[in-house]
């Protein structure tokens, strides 16, 4: 009953936020509209990573690669072929999921940290290809000014497109996490050994999760191209992967919406403090230290625990009455 109230409340809050975001372009300056779109893209990327990290305890250390593969696939198809835009937009996530499957097949045989280490190595190979293959990818310059269909070529147009796709993806992810698949995934996170003993093929379940997560990572990559109109090898570099990992931890990796909050905080820091000093990562480092010591479950994880505490109190009070 009480959890029903929480659910209704959080549904109300998200609906209100969504409405405000829908009308935001009518009163915010153009730069902030662009800034919000960047947060949306990054939030989707962090949310996709959190399917693996927070809900599956899979140390997906190089998730940025799949973001990059999605962006490069869509960007190259748009810039170098005359295929219609929607084919490029669908091909991006599919290519990312395929890359996720290929890398996943190798990594899934290893446990925890070793899984992450192998993924960094294999992912770096893909980065090297993007970085070196000048003829196709433009090397370290990347490709800029990628042509976009008219309806998303303006800042407002791309803003709405990104917002709507983000909304759809969040609903899908929410459904997945509440489904038997999601339940089982969380069980493999909590206790893989026990999970195998109830008849679940843990490795295969994890591999499916990676494919789903990398698909959404690819969607985020396509959205990046929509917002920025360019692609460059930094998208696949491991530093970015680390950043989105921090977003998940900061926002609350055992919560649903935590990574969105984490993405918003990190992107804001990078944008606003980054204009004053290139040492903005210094502040990030301090935040990380505070995070590890004081709220290891992230901001929303901390909030949830507070809520949870008051809920058990509520339960005991109503019992004694």
């Amino acid at each position: 009953m009480f959890s029903e109230m929480i659910r209704q409340k959080s549904f109300g809050v998200s609906a209100a936020i969504f409405v405000v975001l829908l009308i935001a372009p009518s009163f915010l300056p153009r730069y902030y509209i662009y800034f919000l779109a960047v947060i949306f893209v990054t939030a989707l990327l962090a949310m996709s990573l959190n399917l693996c990290v927070g809900h599956g305890m899979l140390f997906q250390f190089h998730h940025g690669v799949f973001y990059g593969v999605g962006a490069y696939t869509a960007g190259l198809l748009l810039a170098k072929t005359s295929l219609p835009w929607w084919i490029a937009f669908i091909a991006g996530p599919l290519a990312a999921a395929f890359a996720g499957l290929l890398i996943g097949i190798f990594c899934i045989r290893l446990n925890r940290l070793y899984f992450g280490m192998l993924q960094i190595s294999l992912g770096s190979l893909i980065w090297a290809v993007a970085f070196r293959w000048y003829a196709l990818t433009g090397g370290d310059d990347g490709i800029h000014g990628i042509p976009m269909p008219d309806f998303i070529s303006s800042t407002t147009g791309s803003y709405y497109f990104v917002l709507i796709v983000l909304g759809i993806c969040l609903v899908l992810m929410y459904l997945i996490l509440k489904s038997p698949f999601g339940s089982t995934l969380q069980a493999t996170r909590d206790n893989p050994e026990r999970c195998a003993a109830v008849g679940i093929n843990v490795r295969r379940h994890q591999l499916k999760t990676i494919v789903i997560a990398t698909f959404f990572g690819g969607v985020a990559g396509v959205l990046f191209v929509v917002v920025e109109g360019s692609i460059f090898p930094d998208l696949l570099f491991w530093v970015l992967s680390l950043e989105i990992m921090i977003m998940c931890l900061l926002g609350g990796w055992f919560t649903f919406a935590g990574p969105i909050l984490g993405a918003a905080i990190i992107v804001s820091l990078r944008t606003f403090i980054g204009t004053y000093t290139e040492y903005w990562t210094l502040i990030l480092g301090v935040i990380l230290i505070l995070l590890i010591f004081f709220i290891p479950e992230g901001i929303m994880g901390y909030n949830y625990r507070q809520l949870f505490r008051s809920r058990t109190q509520y339960a005991t009070e109503s019992q004694t009455e």
Partner: protein
């Protein structure tokens, strides 16, 4: 139903299981006893696939299952509990059991259907039969030790097993909890006709409930027979009961 023939398993030089024999008939309540380090848990881990034997046979309904991984063995009808409380600690009690019921009904891969509305009745029935229904919304980690062990049995029941294996179901329990748990096990065996194999420390508990007892010492089977015969056996008395 289950036959274990001359099973061996060693870790480096240590022979954990060194010639174990066991047979479990349908509907039986069978106990494995033996001092600490006799190889009881290793034997169970071999049967359910967490470990692979070096040599020997494990036959389930005449099929050799000794080389199969745990999830396949579970699909063939063996469910188990573990010696340490091995639950899904961040999930609620209800979802702990639901995970195994979903797995049993092959629903674990459903992507866009709310799990909250699936297999609710089956899960509630299991929780009721073990007496955890009133704690179904609690997070598993917040349960008392005794309840966690009961939850473990409930998770195993979710697989509707032909054979239920319990690794020291009363380890770490208070005397009252032990009595309740053994009553539960006996009820599962008598009322639901479940075939149950368990291992135990407490001699009185075992001789009071089991229909057949297998005694292990240093990895080998000394005897498997009815409780009275086992009690009379001089080798068992020397090895385990302290040679009265």
């Amino acid at each position: 139903m289950l036959r274990v023939e001359d099973l061996h398993k060693s870790f480096d030089d240590f022979k954990a299981v060194n010639g174990a024999h066991l047979s479990v008939e349908k509907g039986q309540l069978v106990a494995v006893i033996g001092p600490n380090g006799a190889g009881k848990t290793t034997l169970f881990n071999l049967i359910t696939g967490q470990l692979q034997p070096n040599t020997g046979k494990i036959l389930l309904k005449d099929e050799d299952i000794s080389k199969l991984p745990p999830h396949v063995i579970c699909r063939k009808g063996i469910a188990r509990s573990f010696q340490i409380a091995n639950v899904f600690h961040r999930l609620s009690v209800f979802r702990n059991v639901q995970v195994s019921v979903l797995s049993q009904q092959k629903l674990s891969d459903r992507l866009f259907q709310p799990a909250a509305r699936l297999v609710v009745e089956e899960t509630n029935r299991i929780l009721e039969s073990v007496g955890l229904l009133d704690k179904k919304t609690d997070v598993a980690d917040s349960l008392a030790h005794g309840d966690k062990r009961i939850l473990e049995i409930a998770i195993a029941l979710g697989n509707e097993p032909d054979l239920l294996i319990l690794d020291e179901p009363t380890a770490g329990m208070s005397p009252e909890e032990t009595t309740t748990t053994m009553a539960l096990i006996q009820r599962l065996s008598e009322d639901q006709g479940l075939t149950i194999l368990f291992c135990e420390h407490d001699m009185e508990v075992v001789f009071g409930t089991a229909q057949s007892i297998m005694v292990m010492q240093q990895g080998s089977t000394i005897i498997q027979d009815e409780p009275e015969t086992v009690r009379q056996n001089t080798e068992v008395q020397q090895a385990y009961l302290g040679g009265e």
